[in-house]
Amino acid sequence: MTLESGAPEGLTTSDLHKAFGDHAVLRGVDLTVPDGAFAAVLGASGSGKTTLLRILAGFERPDRGVVAVGGVVLDDDHHHVRAERRRIGYVPQEGSLFPHLTVEGNVGFGLRAREGREAEVAELLERVGLAGLGRRYPHQLSGGQQQRVALARALAVRPHIVLLDEPFASLDAGLRATVRADVRAAVRRSGATAILVTHDQDEALSIADPVAVIRDGVVAQAASPRDLYESPVDPDLAGFVGEANLIEGTSYGSTAETALGWLQLRDDHRPARQRITVLIRPEQLRVAPFAEGGPGVAARVVEAGFHGHDALVHLVTEDAAAAPMVARVVGGIWLEAGARVTLKVVGPVHCWPRPPAGDAHPGLPAAVPEAGPG
């Protein structure tokens, strides 16, 4: 059955609920992934992201809610399209290759016996960089190779959507970057929509768009990586997707007064005067050698963590008006602990209004409805 014309293409879920026994895992997931996108579902372990993926794949049935692809309903109260009819590919966490079949047998598993099947398998293997390994058995492959085979196997049946369940988690860091890039390229070339499940925010932000953050069984925010990083819906989420400096202040229209001076606000439709929490990413803090009377706020280095390409510098302002802060400094090896510096904020900052009293940093997105994704 199809929805009325004009329904969004791609994948949509609305109000998905799933509980295992008394434990509610999904509590109303609304998600939209445009056709052809490489999306990510980002969440801590136990947030329900794997359950969401298994529902999309058709391995679990939601207790309530709708799953639709290209306007076709796959799951609702009355329908459940079985996994094998969905044309949704699935790349499991450990690859789950069939141990009794060769690489060719695995990749060709979903293909019907017909003319040109062998050539198709060979082409797929080449696409994932495994040309010539078709006769091997899964146990003769490395972890990265197994993941590539699992991907080729899923792409072989030309699925509308490919689900990737933390496929890079078991790979070592050096390998991960290349496998990740290759996987993304292969999926792009196949034209399929991809949904990657991961707990690694770097991974999600670097290869996916949009990224949906799932928290306590609901989508806390779904946005482009940039919006997610720059304008998260609440302080809790800000900390989840990256390093975050949170300082208090008061907004006056498009500017705010804080311990780091007057700052430009990213969203300039604030009411005239309001108590706010400001988000400053480490890259927005410029650290300069201390100069008497210069611009910026005086601060002292507590600790500098060297990372090669950059350094994360922990600082406290000298008047101790704000909490300790972290700045990202490129080539900042000259900063020793105890060094005096000046701090300056570059570019507009994101903010949330603070509730009148009590909890300074509400964890619930409902408290700041106006700061939703753009």
């Binding site: 794949a57 996994a83 094998e84 590919g89 499991p92 450990e94 789950s96 146990h139």
Partner: protein, 533 residues
């Protein structure tokens, strides 16, 4: 020595592949498993009904006799000694074959398993017919140890093959010497398999009848058989059976306690890293000699004695016909029973492995209660029931005999089927379905190829056990029909060794083929890599 190894902390790892989901198992699976459990527990129920028919006073009176104490002492001391010997022999031989560079280990793997195929009563016959020393307690210890140590060897070998080589390496890096690594890690990892094997050994000894009858060693089973078949004293047979079942239940109950909470789990049929074998070096020759002695005693003596008696009596052409006839019946009953047991085990194994809920576990456990029921007791309970309540229908019919076999050897089938179901994780089936394959295609192309060899192995195990079964067969065999075992028994009891010998040899041959297949199957599982360089 083994005990200290067992006491070491369990190398427990969680299963990383399939998260334990609280999913409700499909109803038909629950229903089928429940029905299987009911069938399996029926003999126990019959026994209890029978006992209550005699009245508690009578039963108690029959149990509190000096005879019971004698039987208990005889049974328990034999069980303890043989189980300990089997644990040591089975574990050591398994380690030698699986973890060292022993030359010719494939051949040894086969030779070490074959004694399992030779029925205990044939081993007993072989020894007793050539030596007067093999008699009573020492005879029973010798014969039973040689006949049943493969029950420890097989599971331990399988467990060592699947063991994580990383653990041994980790232990070496923590400063443990080779010997302590063997005791604390190698034996520790195989702990569950050793314990499981020991429990099986103990249960086999409780249930054995033929071997003890030949050796003149009095245990519960020999006494029960005499009371039932010779004196037709059902109440006494029933009372003694109850004691025997309680003994079996005690052994079964001790196993999970001894096993503790540690679990050894690997990711299953995934790609596995293999480790290097230990070098035997100068020990190679003595090890070969020791294994040769073991195989000569366990395999050579029974086979040799049978061959000897056959030639002494001249080749009896006249028995040829009856051997064929008896062989046909043995193969028929065993084949049907093995298929039935494997089929019955499938739903229970699926439920236990895939839906590890409380209900599934309870059902699986309840089926293991059958282990506490010796074949004799099951046969008595079934024949009693057929006579009393089914109006004699089916008593001493082929159907009843195969049903008794299937119940008796169900646990054996379950072990094999369960292991094979574990080799086909749900994740693989899900992957197959997401590739557009229908459930029936998934079953044929993924599940069956993965579990098929295990199912065949389970079938062979049960077939072997049925073909070499004597006690229940003696009670339930259809009138006028002889199987190999019953015909052998008839001749043996008349001391017609020459006429019994051909039957013994055919039994050995019938049982040896499946055991060869079994050994090959276990050999094909991912093995350790070549020798250390």
């Amino acid at each position: 020595m083994i005990a200290t190894g067992v006491a070491a902390e369990p190398p427990a790892v969680a299963d990383p592949v399939v998260p334990a989901r609280r999913r409700l198992p499909p109803l038909f699976l629950l229903g089928a498993s429940g029905a299987v459990a009911l069938v399996l527990l029926a003999p126990l129920l019959f026994l209890l009904i029978e006992a209550s028919g005699s009245g508690a006073g009578t039963i108690a009176h029959l149990i509190w006799r000096p005879l019971t104490a004698t039987l208990l002492w005889n049974t328990v001391r034999l069980t303890v000694v043989v189980t300990a010997l089997c644990a040591v022999i089975g574990t050591l031989t398994a380690w030698l074959v699986e973890c060292t560079d022993l030359p010719g280990r494939r051949l040894w793997a086969v030779l070490l398993v074959i004694p399992f195929a030779i029925p205990d009563f044939v081993v007993s016959f072989g020894w007793a017919s050539i030596s007067t020393w093999v008699h009573g307690f020492q005879g029973a210890v010798l014969v039973m140890t040689l006949a049943v140590y493969p029950l420890v060897y097989l599971p331990v070998a399988a467990s060592l093959r699947g063991a994580d080589p990383g653990l041994e390496e980790a232990a070496r890096s923590l400063g443990l010497g080779r010997f302590r690594v063997f005791l604390r890690v190698t034996v520790g990892q195989a702990r569950g398999a050793i314990l499981g094997g020991c429990v099986l050994v103990a249960l086999v000894i409780l249930a054995e009848y033929g071997a003890f009858e030949i050796l003149g060693y009095q245990t519960f089973t020999t006494e029960i058989f005499t009371e039932f078949q010779v004196s037709f004293n059902v109440s006494t047979a029933c009372a003694l059976s109850l004691v025997l079942v309680v003994l079996g239940a005690l052994i079964l109950g001790a196993e999970p306690v001894a096993r503790g909470k540690g679990r050894v789990v690997r990711t299953g049929a995934q790609a596995q890293r293999t480790s290097r074998r230990h070098r035997l070096g100068r020990c190679t020759l003595p090890v070969h000699a020791a294994l040769a002695v073991l195989v000569a005693l366990a395999l050579g003596v029974p086979v040799g004695a049978s061959v000897y008696w056959m030639f002494v009596g001249g080749i009896p052409f006249l028995t040829g016909v009856s051997v064929l006839d008896a062989g046909w019946h043995t193969a028929l009953y065993s084949g049907v029973a093995a298929a039935l047991a494997t089929l019955l085990a499938l739903p229970v194994a699926l439920l236990a492995v895939r839906h590890s809920g409380r209900g599934g576990r309870l059902l699986e456990r309840s089926t293991y209660l059958v282990l506490a029921m010796p074949g004799l007791v099951i046969a008595l309970a079934i024949s009693y029931f057929a006579e009393r309540y089914a109006g004699g229908f089916g008593y001493q019919s082929a159907a009843l005999l195969t049903a008794a076999y299937a119940i008796l050897f169900f646990p054996l089938a379950l072990v094999g089927v369960r292991a094979s179901v574990t080799r086909a994780p749900v994740a693989l089936e899900e992957a197959a379905r997401s590739l557009g394959r229908r459930p029936d295609e998934v079953f044929l192309r993924v599940t069956l190829p993965l579990i098929g060899p295990g199912l065949a192995a389970a079938f062979c195990l049960v077939f072997l056990a049925c073909a070499t079964e004597l006690t229940a067969t003696l009670v339930l065999v259809p009138t006028g029909v002889q199987t190999l075992a019953t015909q052998f028994w008839a001749y043996q009891q008349n001391l017609s060794y020459a006429q019994a010998a051909p039957f013994a040899l055919v039994i050995i041959a019938i049982a040896a083929v499946p055991s060869y297949v079994l050994a090959r199957y276990f050999d094909r599982l991912p093995s350790r890599a070549g020798t250390a360089s």
